[in-house]
């Protein structure tokens, strides 16, 4: 597979020459700075305000530039790249509409703490503020959804700003940083000195935790009778998954991983309870509610996890470990707050903790719940059940793929039935819940991990929000396997309308959707379809044997619901169990 994405690197001599101090344009400074930051892949879309940058990119082959078909595709791809690699994702768009088309993707990355450097063009500095053609105040528009942003007014600031942007994006609590470059700044020339120093007085994330707090946690673990760990995306982002496994093995505390934390802990481990929250498992939700010690590592007590806050974990002493101090106490008051990098905290804790020896009865209880109330659905031989399709994908790929999803029912079924055992294998829009994210993010993930199998699982709704990116899969031979679970409706909306709005199915029928097989073929991507179990396996086999991208449509049962489900505003142990009963 990897051979299909050609490696791009200029010669060592050329790279060395380029790093010499020299008078060059802002655009060339940008490209060389990106090289210095180790960028290998950029997703973008040219336009008037970035023409100097694209001119500098002409014939440039030190990193890939993928021309997407929509700026939203570019930024979601950069996001997928960042989540799959742990590096900073980079995308470029022009001013005005190009920049505003990025807004959804920036907000997506911000909510999920994904490191991005977003480069937008702007009109010339002399025109800023005049409502010039294709002008938008993109730094103003994106202020609430970026970790930081820059409007570059002087080309001499550019090397420092780019260096700072990468540093800010990928340290502390990660997030998107926007650099807005006016056209005349990208054209202006100055002396480029690589390796500019940084001076960020106000930015100094706390990595190492306070030792006294760690001691308090160790003591609490020794005393706990019903301890539970919630692990979130912070564990994956910090590279703390091995330290987490060791922590759990040492303490033998039952663990649940949030939606973004899937893959932070091996799902096959007997102490793993599945996902908590709105579509979490019976075991995880009841364990949280009855716990006397709740250790949150790198998760932010999102409302989809906590349900009704006033009834959340009522008996538990709360421990909150987070690199962002503002998360601690934001939603749930912490009894033992620990500010620090999840990996560092876990590594230090591993030197302090022993087996939670008072929790044996608790571990038995958890085992019992897991056996009595597993995830379940009613299978059928007449229609394809979406849960069955996910299980089949899991079995046939041995749980080894990188899986990206869109948002909705298919996302929750994938979270429930695909068994993740390693970090950076699960890419989904958790915080913002962005439809249209699943497919383009898979393109980015594949660029980051050319040797791994990347499966993008989408609904028929979300697939239509960025389907134009089939073109870049085809043209660049990016071998993503695109799954469409087609139930002909907006499934999660239908589920809510059924359960909460008394079957008033308002505007959810996706009649008029394209023939997905033909749509794929129109872009030059192989398309396959399955409507029953036998075909489903055959078709998937064929997809796996086909080099390059393939779209596989599974026509699934329309009326299927995601269970368990906690309705909004209820405590998380009040669950609709549906088929899990």
């Amino acid at each position: 597979m990897s051979a299909q994405i050609p490696a791009m690197k200029s010669t060592k001599e050329l790279r060395e020459k380029w790093m010499e101090p020299e008078v060059i344009s802002g655009s060339e400074i940008l490209l060389r700075s990106l090289l210095l930051e180790g960028v290998e892949c950029v997703f973008g879309y040219p336009g008037g305000a970035v023409l100097y940058i694209y001119d500098a990119l002409y014939g440039f082959n030190d990193f890939h530039h993928l021309l997407t078909r929509h700026e939203q595709g570019a930024i979601h791809a950069a996001d997928g790249y960042a989540r799959a690699s742990g590096k900073v994702g980079v995308c470029i768009a022009t001013s005005g509409p190009g920049a505003t088309n990025l807004v959804t993707g920036i907000a997506t990355a911000y909510m999920d703490s994904v490191p991005l450097v977003v480069i937008t063009g702007n009109v010339a500095t002399t025109l800023i503020g005049t409502d010039a053609f294709q002008e938008a105040d993109i730094t103003g528009i994106t202020m609430p959804i970026t970790k930081h942003s820059y409007l570059v007014r002087n080309v001499e600031d550019l090397p420092r700003i780019i260096h700072e942007a990468f540093h800010i994006a990928n340290t502390g609590r990660k997030g998107p940083v926007l650099i807005d470059i006016p056209k005349d700044v990208s054209a202006a020339k100055t002396m480029f000195h690589p390796g500019e120093a940084m001076n960020l007085r106000g930015y100094n994330p706390t990595i190492t935790p306070n030792r006294l707090q760690l001691d308090k946690l160790a003591a609490a673990i020794a005393e706990a009778e019903r301890p539970v760990i919630i692990a979130g995306g912070g564990v994956i982002y910090s590279g703390g998954h091995e330290a987490l496994l060791e922590f759990v093995e040492r303490t033998e505390i039952p663990i649940t991983t949030t939606l973004l934390g899937l893959g932070a802990f091996p799902s096959g481990n007997s102490l793993w309870m599945g996902m908590p929250g709105m579509h979490g498992t019976y075991t995880a939700n009841h364990a949280i509610q009855q716990s006397d010690l709740l250790i949150n590592i790198g998760a932010r007590f999102d409302d989809r996890v906590t349900g009704a806050l006033d009834g959340f974990a009522p008996k538990a002493k709360i421990v909150h470990i987070d690199i962002d101090p503002a998360e601690i106490g934001k939603n749930v008051k912490a009894d033992i707050p620990i500010v620090g990098d999840a990996k560092t905290v876990l590594e230090q804790m591993n030197g302090l903790v022993k087996r939670a020896s008072k929790a044996d009865a608790w571990r038995d209880q958890i085992r019992k719940w897991k056996a009595e109330k597993p995830l379940k659905y009613v299978d059928s031989n007449e229609v394809l059940k979406p849960q069955w399709v996910i299980q089949m994908l899991n079995d046939m790929t041995h749980g080894q793929a990188i899986v990206t999803t869109d948002v909705g029912q298919h996302q929750m079924w994938t979270a429930q039935y695909y068994k993740f055992n390693q970090p950076r294998s699960w890419i989904t829009s958790g915080g913002l819940g962005t439809m249209g994210f699943g497919f383009p993010s898979a393109i980015g993930a594949q660029m980051a991990q050319p040797d791994r199998l990347v499966i993008s699982i989408n609904g028929d709704g979300g697939m239509q929000m960025c389907s134009q990116e089939l073109a870049i899969c085809a043209i660049n031979k990016i071998p993503v396997k695109i799954v469409v679970l087609n139930n002909q409706v907006l499934g999660m909306v239908r589920q809510w309308q059924e359960l909460i709005y008394e079957n008033r199915y308002s505007h959810i029928d996706l009649a008029g959707s394209p023939d997905f097989v033909k749509l794929a073929e129109a872009y030059g991507v192989k398309g396959l379809r399955a409507t029953n179990k036998e075909d489903a396996q055959k078709v998937w086999q064929e997809a796996m044997e086909t080099p390059g991208p393939v779209l596989v449509e599974f026509v699934v049962h329309k009326g299927e619901n995601v269970y368990p489900m906690v309705t909004q505003g209820s405590p998380i142990d009040q669950m609709l169990m549906g088929d899990c009963e």
């Binding site: 970790k147 409007l151 503002a326």
Partner: protein
């Protein structure tokens, strides 16, 4: 709910006021007043924000402010002995017969008349918020034509920082 004064030392960058005020707006924090000006150090500005809330809100405000890259330091002034001042200019209707009476009020408040028009006086008053409020109340019966208040600026006393 209680009033708090917070001093925020920020990089003197374009857009920094927008970042700070935007943060308050979107997180639902209250702004009673906000003032910005130079600080003792070149390149840094000092903002003084008066806000209303409980201790938890105040803690979140401080923490969220620290997330902004351009924020160097956040000081909860209300936690320490402090001096806070506000300035107001009040243009009050004043026909010649009423002027001595108004001047008397101004003198009592150690305020100053800084301009005299044919039918009005402009009063400048400096002090804490309560003093300004009281001055305005007393001038209201004469007819206030224009009023401009600066918002609070504040500093901790002595060696407290």
């Amino acid at each position: 709910m209680k009033n708090f004064a917070i001093a925020v030392l920020v990089n003197d960058q374009p857009g920094v006021l927008q970042r700070v005020s935007g943060l308050f707006g979107r997180r639902g924090f209250n702004i009673e007043s906000i003032t910005v000006g130079q600080s003792e150090e070149a390149g840094l500005s000092r903002m003084v924000i008066v806000t209303k809330g409980d201790e938890n809100t105040l803690e979140q405000i401080e923490k969220q402010l620290y997330k902004l890259i351009d924020v160097i330091k956040v000081i909860n002034l209300s936690a320490k002995p402090m001096v806070s001042r506000e300035l107001a200019l009040i243009k009050v209707k004043a026909e010649p017969p009423e002027r001595p009476e108004i001047m008397g009020l101004v003198e009592t408040f150690r305020a100053a008349v800084v301009d005299i028009g044919t039918h009005s006086l402009m009063v400048q008053v400096v002090g804490d918020t309560e003093k300004i409020d009281a001055m305005i109340e007393l001038l209201k019966p004469y007819g206030i034509r224009e009023l401009s208040r600066t918002g609070v600026t504040a500093m901790t006393r002595g060696n407290a920082s």
